[in-house]
Amino acid sequence: MEQMKLEIITPNGMIFDGEVKQVNLPGSEGEFGVLAGHATLVSTLDTGVIVIDKEDGTELAVAINSGYVKVEEDKTTCIVDGAVALSGSDSELSKALEEAKELLKSAETSNTAIAAAVSKVEHIGKSF
């Protein structure tokens, strides 16, 4: 499967930079998935979870509060205000989950969006 480049940038630095198969983004007009070769698009991102299908087949979830995404044919750039990557060993993961929930709850969006994102984070936490 074709790969594309994904960058996730926060004010505190780049938290993801690499080749991916697919990425699911929480757009403000609804969630959408991006594969390589997608049409050029700019969208705002809402509070939610970015799910990345990495090239080695593993999944990575990143909780974000808000931001923007620019999709190009071979490159996707997410510019977000705050993000927590849900990965690592068990102890690190549970800490990351807590941090992610904190981050989501502090976001200034509708309660439903936050609740949806929090439940999604919890679901990811269980599936690991």
């Binding site: 004010p11 630095g13 780049m14 757009g27 700019v42 969208s43 750039t77 510019i79």
Partner: protein, 295 residues
């Protein structure tokens, strides 16, 4: 003899000062490293954000024949009111760092006053606030603590308020002055126009061939949100930049102070030795002449 003692005391005190300035220099250099790292990391974000803003603005300019019709991009024909935001340090002992920023701010105020433009000042950092208060110049905003510990949330809260007054029409232009970091030994006063967005600076002439789809399908909403983020980030980045410059300026000042103290100890030591020799000579003469008279 009293002179000898005094010189010795002086040497001790200068040496103490030297120790303090040297320690301050070390602290500043450590802090500078950390701030530099912070600046480096956030530079990527700033670059990407500007790129995105460029692209949207470019798209709007292409679809709109009379330029970008957005409040944040509208240049007024006749400037009447200007807001100047300037960043100084909370602490002194950093050479001419604060004085330079204040000088530039003063200069800018003069130029605007000559053109009959009303100027409002918003100060961040204790040193700038103290200066303008002492000179009886009114400040619209006084923020202490933000320049020594930049915080994205606080910075964006502050600049949002300023941006709101722009959107309300209370001000026509917002200018940000800060003393920026160039390298370890140089700082440079930077003047940025925050609002309206400086379109020539955005290099809108580069024609992009790609069709850009926008979601939500309303350029204005997206642009407004982007501009807001853009100015918030410019503010935050300026604070970091200013902090890095402050540390490098302090490092330099403390380095110079340490060197001066060293020099001073040297001259004092020479003086001390001379005084000691003198007193020995005097004593010798006294003894010899005493012996001579005994003969």
């Amino acid at each position: 003899m009293a002179n000898l003692k005094e010189i010795k005391r002086k040497i001790g005190s200068v040496k103490n000062t030297q120790k303090t300035t040297n320690a301050m220099k070390l602290v500043s250099s450590a802090k500078l490293k950390r701030t530099e790292e912070l600046a480096k990391r956030s530079r990527v974000y700033a670059a990407k954000l500007t790129e995105l803003l460029n692209e949207i603005a470019r798209k709007m300019q292409q679809t709109n024949t009379n330029g970008i019709d957005n409040i944040y991009f509208r240049e007024v024909d006749e400037l009447q009111k200007v807001d100047i935001v300037f960043i100084t340090a909370d602490k002194g002992l950093c050479g001419g760092f604060n004085a330079q920023t204040i000088k530039r701010a003063n200069h800018l105020i003069e130029t605007f006053r000559e053109k009959n433009v009303k100027v409002r000042l918003r100060a961040i950092g204790r040193k700038g606030i103290d200066y303008f208060k002492f000179n009886g110049i009114e400040l619209n905003d006084e923020v202490i603590g933000l320049s020594s510990a930049p915080d994205f949330k606080k910075a964006s809260e502050f600049i949002s308020e300023v941006a709101d007054s722009y959107a309300n029409g209370d001000t026509d232009k917002i200018i940000l002055i800060h003393n920026g970091y160039v390298n370890m030994i140089t700082q440079e006063v930077r003047e940025d126009q925050i609002l309206p967005v400086d379109t020539p600076k955005l290099e809108l002439n580069n024609v992009s061939t790609s069709e850009l789809e926008v979601e939500p399908d309303d350029d204005d909403t997206l642009l407004n949100a982007l501009v807001k983020r853009y100015i918030e980030y410019t503010m935050y980045y300026s604070l970091i930049d200013s902090l890095a410059a402050e540390h490098s300026a302090r490092m330099q000042a403390m380095d110079a102070a340490t060197k001066n103290a060293k020099e001073m100890v040297k001259t004092l030591q020479v003086k001390y030795n001379k005084a000691r020799q003198e007193s020995i000579t005097t004593e010798l003469i006294e003894i010899i002449s005493g012996m001579e008279s005994m003969k």
